[in-house]
Every structure is written in structure tokens, then in C-alpha cells.
């Protein structure tokens, strides 16, 4: 069983809509009082799941079409899995845990047959460190929306010029043990790999992001800080005017202090660092991996 550990990922989104809110004209999710952008846990997990799928892992929570080209429901997807693998209802949870890395780490809720698995790896909602501007944009598309039009369609969308996010996650070995889930170091390596590469590789008109620093604190004995918020983000300009990672310095002084204070309980601190980010107060004891 892999040891309990906590993660803090610092990443940025440039000229993009990191996570739209359909209720609100699909503007980036944000806090109207502070101007901070927000990203839901499931958006982050989607980056990871897509990366896993692209690298040949089995992923349960995905959009799959049936032979008629229609999107399958969860129930029919499960039915198909049972038919293909020949497992009985009683053995289904075990089968899913063995075969699907996203079930092992993030859990699953299955309606027919009814049961749920609590994921030992929880991802928190992310908030941007800076209050980020939200811009309304319009443009011309190439085609008209129908016949007999004199003009092509106008598209419109909301984007944010620059937002720097902190995302916290925790892997809890007790949650795995209690449910008889075996999570290996290898699984968690696949998680960090997919987290970093998933952010890099997922590109679209609305998504453009880059992981800048990932802190992974692996504990010797079970321990959970609850936020691991020990990285200070300092900006060279006003917070509202930041547009690029070159205007940002990440200060690990608090993390170093946390490590010194809790040395007995901490096994390893790994820092995955992107080449273009300035980092201060990096301890020699930390294992540094270049992204």
C-alpha cells in the first residue's frame, strides 16, 4: 500500500476559459466578490482521465458511443463491461478496482447494481491566487448558420487573460485499506504523471494551461495537513495585471519550515518544477524533478 500523501499543484491558464459555468453564460467559474477564478475537482480529474485514456489505461468514467452512435449511459456501460469480461454482479467491484485506475483512485458510484466506492484520492476545488479579469470576445466564423444568409455566424465567448491556480489533493491510505483497495506506488506515479502531462496535453479553443510546480509530500506515518498551503506566490506587478509566469516567484519558505517541523513524519518531499518558473527557498533535502 502506498503511503498517505498530499499534493499542491500550481498551474496557470492563459487566454482561456479554464472551467466554464453554464448557468452564467459559460463564463469562467469565479467568485464575484474576490474576482478569483475557480476550477472544479471534476475538471482536474478529466484532464487526468483523458491523459490516462491516451496512454492506454482503462478509464471507467468516460463518454462512450454505442453502435448506433448514441452516447451510452453508465448503466449500459457497466452491462457491457460485465458481458465482455464475464464477471458476475458480486465480483464487479473487485473487477472494476483491478482494471480501472480511475476507480481505484477516485472511486465510483454505480447505480445498477447499486454500490459506491469512496475514492482514497480526493481533489479539492481550485482557486486562482490572483483576481482574474474575464473578457467577452466575439468573432466571425467561416460559415453561415443556414441557407440564404448574407453574413457568416458570429461566435462569442468569455475568456480570462491569465489566472494562476493552486490545486490541493490528498491520498489517504486508510480510506483505501478500509475498503480493501490496493493502491500501489506505481498507481500514484501514474497519477502525478497524468496530472502534469494531462494539463500540458489537453489543448482546445477554451483550454490552455501549464503545470508550473507540483509539491508532493509523502508521509512515513499517516498524517493529513488538510490544505498544504505552504507555497507563497509573489507577483512582480499588481495582482490584476499579471499576464505571464515570468512575472511570478514561488516562495517555498513555509514548506521548508513545515518540513523541518514535521521531519519525523515526512518520508519525502518531491518538487516537480517547470523550467520557466522562479522558485525560492528550495531545500537540499527536497527531491527535484524537472517537468
Amino acid at each position: 500500500m502506498a503511503n498517505t500523501r498530499e499534493y499542491l499543484l500550481i498551474w496557470d491558464s492563459t487566454m482561456a476559459n479554464p472551467n466554464g459555468d453554464m448557468l452564467n453564460d459559460n463564463k469562467p467559474r469565479h467568485d464575484e466578490v474576490t474576482g478569483q477564478l475557480e476550477v472544479s475537482d471534476v475538471r482536474i480529474k478529466r484532464f487526468i482521465r483523458d491523459e490516462w485514456q491516451a496512454t492506454g489505461h482503462n478509464v471507467l468514467v468516460r463518454t462512450k458511443k454505442d453502435e448506433g452512435g448514441k452516447v451510452m449511459s453508465c448503466t449500459s456501460l457497466i452491462k457491457e463491461i460485465m458481458k465482455d469480461s464475464g464477471v458476475k454482479e458480486d465480483d464487479l467491484p473487485g473487477h472494476l478496482l483491478n482494471e480501472y485506475i480511475d476507480v481505484r483512485l477516485f472511486g465510483a458510484v454505480i447505480t445498477k447494481p447499486k454500490y459506491d466506492i469512496t475514492g482514497p484520492l480526493q481533489v479539492m476545488w481550485s482557486k486562482s491566487v490572483n483576481p482574474a479579469e474575464i473578457k467577452f470576445m466575439q468573432g466571425n466564423s467561416a460559415y453561415a448558420s443556414g441557407e440564404g444568409k448574407s453574413q457568416s455566424t458570429i461566435w462569442s465567448k468569455y475568456i480570462s487573460p491569465y489566472a494562476l491556480f493552486k490545486t490541493y489533493a490528498v491520498f489517504n491510505d486508510n480510506a483505501a485499506k478500509r475498503q480493501g483497495i490496493e493502491v500501489s506506488e506505481e498507481d500514484l506515479n501514474e497519477f502525478t504523471k497524468a496530472l502534469i502531462n494531462g494539463l500540458i496535453n489537453y489543448r482546445s479553443t477554451s483550454k490552455n494551461q501549464m503545470p508550473r510546480l507540483l509539491v508532493e509530500v509523502v508521509y512515513k506515518e499517516h498524517r493529513i495537513d488538510g490544505e498544504l498551503n505552504y507555497v507563497d506566490v509573489n507577483f512582480d506587478t499588481d495582482k490584476e495585471e499579471v499576464r505571464d509566469i515570468s512575472q511570478v516567484t514561488l516562495d517555498l519558505e513555509k514548506l521548508s519550515r513545515y518540513y523541518e517541523n514535521k521531519k519525523d513524519a515526512i518520508d519525502t518531499v518531491r518538487i516537480y518544477r517547470h523550467g520557466s518558473v522562479r522558485v525560492e527557498n528550495l531545500l537540499e533535502d527536497f527531491e527535484v524533478i524537472e517537468i
Binding site: V71, C74, T75
Partner: protein, 226 residues
């Protein structure tokens, strides 16, 4: 009365109202059954045993951060065998930047274990405020012997409105009908209309004649839910 005090905060919280289906609304603040769940997570009590294990818990709740509700849309995956509907948007209400001070009275050995786990940051399960993506940071504050305050005329914790004759003042009063007890099936069985107050964005006391005992803890007058 042996009593333990800790703080719980997160970037978000959602304490779901059970009578809404897809448009999940949230209560205004954490409620006693949710606190029991939070303590259950720290202690590692299985959810099937929680009702019995926590039956002798007494809980006081102080709301420390101003209430900020918001609503956004989430996409849920359809679980019905519909042919072309894979996900559908639902409105989800949640609280922003919640912070609570929790007062717990329990059996001494249980409190000992709770104190040790909070002190060493060793919750068995990952604590969160309502839903698993709103992970909570818990901070141990103190352990003390709480005593009943004689003729108290103010209260710093949430209190059922029927137990206080409010003296109106310059504070803003928040109120909500929250669940206070549940049964083995994890259904809410009783509700109370509770009050708490803020002045200039800070939590403050509510003044008035109290019709129930409150306990003094670190300068706070606290009402305990049984």
C-alpha cells in the same frame, strides 16, 4: 463538563438540503449531524456504526466566517438508460470560505483520542465539509472543563430561536431551519430554527434572555445540541 474545541475551515462547503433532488441547495451553516460525520471521519468510525457511536455526543457550533452562498452549474452524468442524454446540467448551491468553531462534549476516552488525532493531524479518513471535493482543514484549539453560566444574557454559538428572547441590536442576524438529529438510516428526524449573528463581517454575540443552559468556554457562551 469535559469539552474539546477545534476549528474547521475550507474554501467551500455544501450541507445539502435533503428535500431537493437535482438542484442541490445548502443549509446556511454546518449542522449537528454533519459535525458528527466530521468527527466520525477523524475517528475513523464506519458510517454504519456512526449513529450508535455518536449518540452521546453533545455539539456546539460557532460560525466564524460571514455566510456567502453562491450557485453554479455542474454537469452530472446521467445514470438512466437514456439513449442520447449522457450528461445534464444541474444547479448547485454552495457556501464560500466557511469557517466554524466546534465544541464537543463526549466520553473522556473518546475525547482523548479525538484530541490526539487533531493534535497530530492524524484523521483516519479525510475530513471534508459536506462533499468530498471540499476538503477541510481542522485545527485543534483546546480541551477544558466547561461550566454552566448562571444567568447568561448572551450567546456566541448558534442557538435555536425558541430558546432565546432576542434583544435587537446593530448586528445582522442569520437564521435557517437546520437538522439537529438523525436516525440509523441517516435520515434527518428533527429540525430547529437557529440563529447566529455578525457585526461588520465578524461573528458576534446575540443578546437576550436565554431559556436553556449555556456553557462557558474560553469566554464564549455555548449552546450544546444533544
Amino acid at each position: 463538563m469535559d469539552c474539546l474545541v477545534f476549528r474547521a475551515k475550507s474554501g467551500y462547503a455544501k450541507f445539502r438540503k435533503p428535500y431537493t433532488t437535482t438542484s442541490a441547495l445548502t443549509f446556511l451553516c454546518i449542522h449537528p449531524p454533519a459535525v458528527k460525520g466530521l468527527i466520525g471521519a477523524v475517528m475513523g468510525i464506519d458510517k454504519t456504526d456512526l449513529y450508535k457511536e455518536s449518540s452521546n455526543l453533545k455539539i456546539g457550533i460557532q460560525v466564524l466566517s460571514p455566510v456567502r452562498k453562491d450557485m453554479q452549474t455542474l454537469k452530472l452524468v446521467s445514470m438512466k438508460a437514456e439513449r442520447d442524454l449522457f450528461s445534464f446540467p444541474v444547479n448547485a448551491e454552495f457556501l464560500r470560505d466557511p469557517e466554524y468553531r466546534i465544541f464537543v462534549s463526549w466520553l473522556p476516552d473518546k475525547l482523548d483520542e479525538l484530541e490526539e488525532r487533531l493534535n497530530k493531524q492524524q484523521p483516519v479518513f479525510t475530513p471534508y465539509l459536506g462533499v468530498s471535493e471540499y476538503i477541510a482543514k481542522l485545527s485543534y484549539e483546546s480541551r477544558c472543563d466547561a461550566e454552566i453560566i448562571n444567568s447568561a444574557n448572551s450567546v456566541e454559538s448558534i442557538i435555536p430561536s425558541r430558546f432565546i428572547n432576542i434583544q435587537h441590536s446593530d448586528y445582522r442576524i442569520f437564521t435557517d431551519n437546520i437538522p439537529v438529529c438523525n436516525n440509523e438510516k441517516r435520515e434527518y428526524t428533527g429540525y430547529e430554527k437557529v440563529l447566529f449573528a455578525f457585526r461588520n463581517g465578524n461573528a458576534c454575540s446575540i443578546k437576550g434572555d436565554l431559556k436553556r443552559d449555556v456553557y462557558g468556554i474560553d469566554g464564549n457562551a455555548v449552546f450544546f445540541f444533544k
